[in-house]
Symmetry: C2
Subunit: 337 residues, 2 copies
């Protein structure tokens, strides 16, 4: 997919009061903005991923068609491409990188898109997982800016149970004494691998493992080969400080945790003006359908379509062809309305 990459730079003012000077947000645009600037689609990145991981849903003939839309993919702070512990200059580097909330990231996106691109309105904001959190936040923070919203395996506020999972990832990384309270000389690779193995149990469903689909994620003869070859390999390359920064961003996510909504989630959801589609997956172990159903009650123009897939949370990761097609059809219909 042909993309145009650019960097938006500015001071990042955080809810905590800290300012990260000269923050850099790397974006990718697929397709051109029209003269009226009314064909933009926002599609933010997910946890531990960059714009490339969104490309499976973008293409000619797909719902997110760059011949029709300008699909804008901002990389989330902490992902190693936009400002992150791994690339921030001192004194904000490594574990000293300040906590960025989804609210902060979206405020920065709004300012930059308006000031640099003259872009204040999106035909659609869509995302999966942490990308869905950003899309949700956009619709609450700037209700007039989002015409349509599609939340895939995401929630308006990180649930208590989801936080338990996330805090277990933190604990596993920090248990590796290489971490040394952040003054580490080498990456805590054993902690990172443990975090990967924790993730392995949550990402896919019990039914997915029962069907033996894990063995097809490579040429894996058994479970141990899969855990070593897929998850260890994925996580041992990670930068611990980046992962920890994004985990903190995830934990803090709450569209109502700001002055405007004062922690009143129903109020924040009721402010959404976008035509909203919530798409939980019936096998998702950390963004269960029940959370979206509760949210739906407060959304004025919303509906919920459950994705049925043993791929669980990963149903919308791009790894499952059938689920990719299902999501593409949902997006096509939602953009048509």
């Amino acid at each position: 997919v042909k993309a145009r990459q650019f960097v938006l730079e500015g001071d990042l003012e955080l809810s905590s009061g800290v300012v990260l000077p000269g923050a850099r947000m790397t974006c990718c645009a697929y397709g051109d903005l029209n003269a009226a600037r009314d064909n933009a689609v926002l599609f933010p990145t997910r946890f531990g991923a960059s714009h490339g991981e969104n490309e499976f849903l973008i293409g000619t003939g797909k719902a997110l068609d760059p011949d029709k839309y300008s699909i804008l993919v901002p990389n989330l702070f902490g992902n190693g491409i936009s400002s992150s512990p791994s690339n921030a200059p001192p004194p904000y580097d490594g574990p000293a990188f300040p906590r960025v909330t989804i609210h902060d990231a979206v405020r920065f996106q709004r300012q930059q898109f308006a000031n640099v691109l003259g872009l204040t309105r999106f035909r659609l904001a869509v995302g999966w997982s942490m990308g869905a959190q950003q899309a949700y936040e956009w619709a609450c923070q700037a209700p007039d800016a989002v015409e349509r919203l599609v939340v895939i395996c995401g929630a308006a506020r990180t649930s208590e149970h989801n936080k338990v999972f996330l805090k277990s990832l933190q604990a596993a990384i920090l248990a590796d004494r290489r971490w040394k309270d952040g003054r580490y000389e080498s990456e805590p690779v054993d902690g990172l691998r443990a975090a990967g193995r924790i993730y392995a149990g949550w990402a896919y469903s019990q039914d997915w493992y029962r069907a033996g689909l894990h063995l097809k994620m490579g040429t894996f003869p058994d479970l141990d080969a899969y855990l070593a070859g897929y998850w260890d390999a994925l996580f041992e390359k990670r930068v611990a400080a980046n992962l920890l920064a994004m985990i903190n961003t995830w934990i803090a996510h709450d569209v109502s945790a700001n002055d405007r909504y004062g922690g009143d989630l129903e109020h924040a959801l009721a402010a959404i003006r976008a035509r909203t589609l919530l798409v939980p997956c019936d096998h998702d172990l950390y963004f269960p359908t029940a959370d979206n159903e509760l949210e739906l009650k407060s959304i004025r123009n919303g509906e919920l379509v459950e994705l049925k897939s043993v791929w669980g949370h990963m149903a919308a990761s791009g790894q499952s062809e059938a689920d990719n097609r299902f999501i593409d059809r949902l997006l096509t219909e939602h953009l048509r309305q």
Copy 2:
């Protein structure tokens, strides 16, 4: 509850070929055996627990009534009371403790009960979680010895998904470099705490956390206080080598992984003669109902009753009064038949 505690001692012959000489199995008996020796109930312990944790289901007027039955609770090897890494003499102490399977433990129980107590038949074998694994193994290994079987939140073979969860516990403990490949001078407390926090996400359900029941596990103002006050406190006291031994026992569990059944699970299940009741919990995240449903197809005289409880796997831990009563009623009915 009045109990009589005793120790059965003998050589433990393991499937691996290793022999653990003078292995000690601590048992508790609640109620006396009658002259015919036909009123015994077997109720083995679960992961990381000892006989005391089974007592909530034992008592006059309950299904497991010591006035009617002799309820025998053997402590599982590795739990710190029966032979375990923490109490075995060299050269079998600590991480050198040999791997004990559920099959091995049940074979030892059978030999000892027959030789010392003259006990070869149980009115009922019942257990929860790893206790259920032992009860299941008894019914497959000695079909004539078990008249009735009740499996609560357990399975005949540890599922692949369940192993992923268990292997993440191992990885978190081993990530703590205090462990030093087993030659540790102090317990890997950070790894143990991380393991506790992993457990926290699996033990109870998403709905349980949404209902805020975690805050009622003590006087906890918020999630962090709960994780620190409940799970960290629970796991930082553990002996890592004992936990790792029991995790290995759990991972290896498979009623068909032996010469008699040669890995043929359906064959092993079809050998069960006990009137069997499988009791999964609808919110259990690691012993899902679907696993029991598949098993049920091969059991000649079996039925399945699903426990509906947001307590998830912990529904049968004794912490939920409503679930305790439900289980007691099921056991009462099952013993009557």
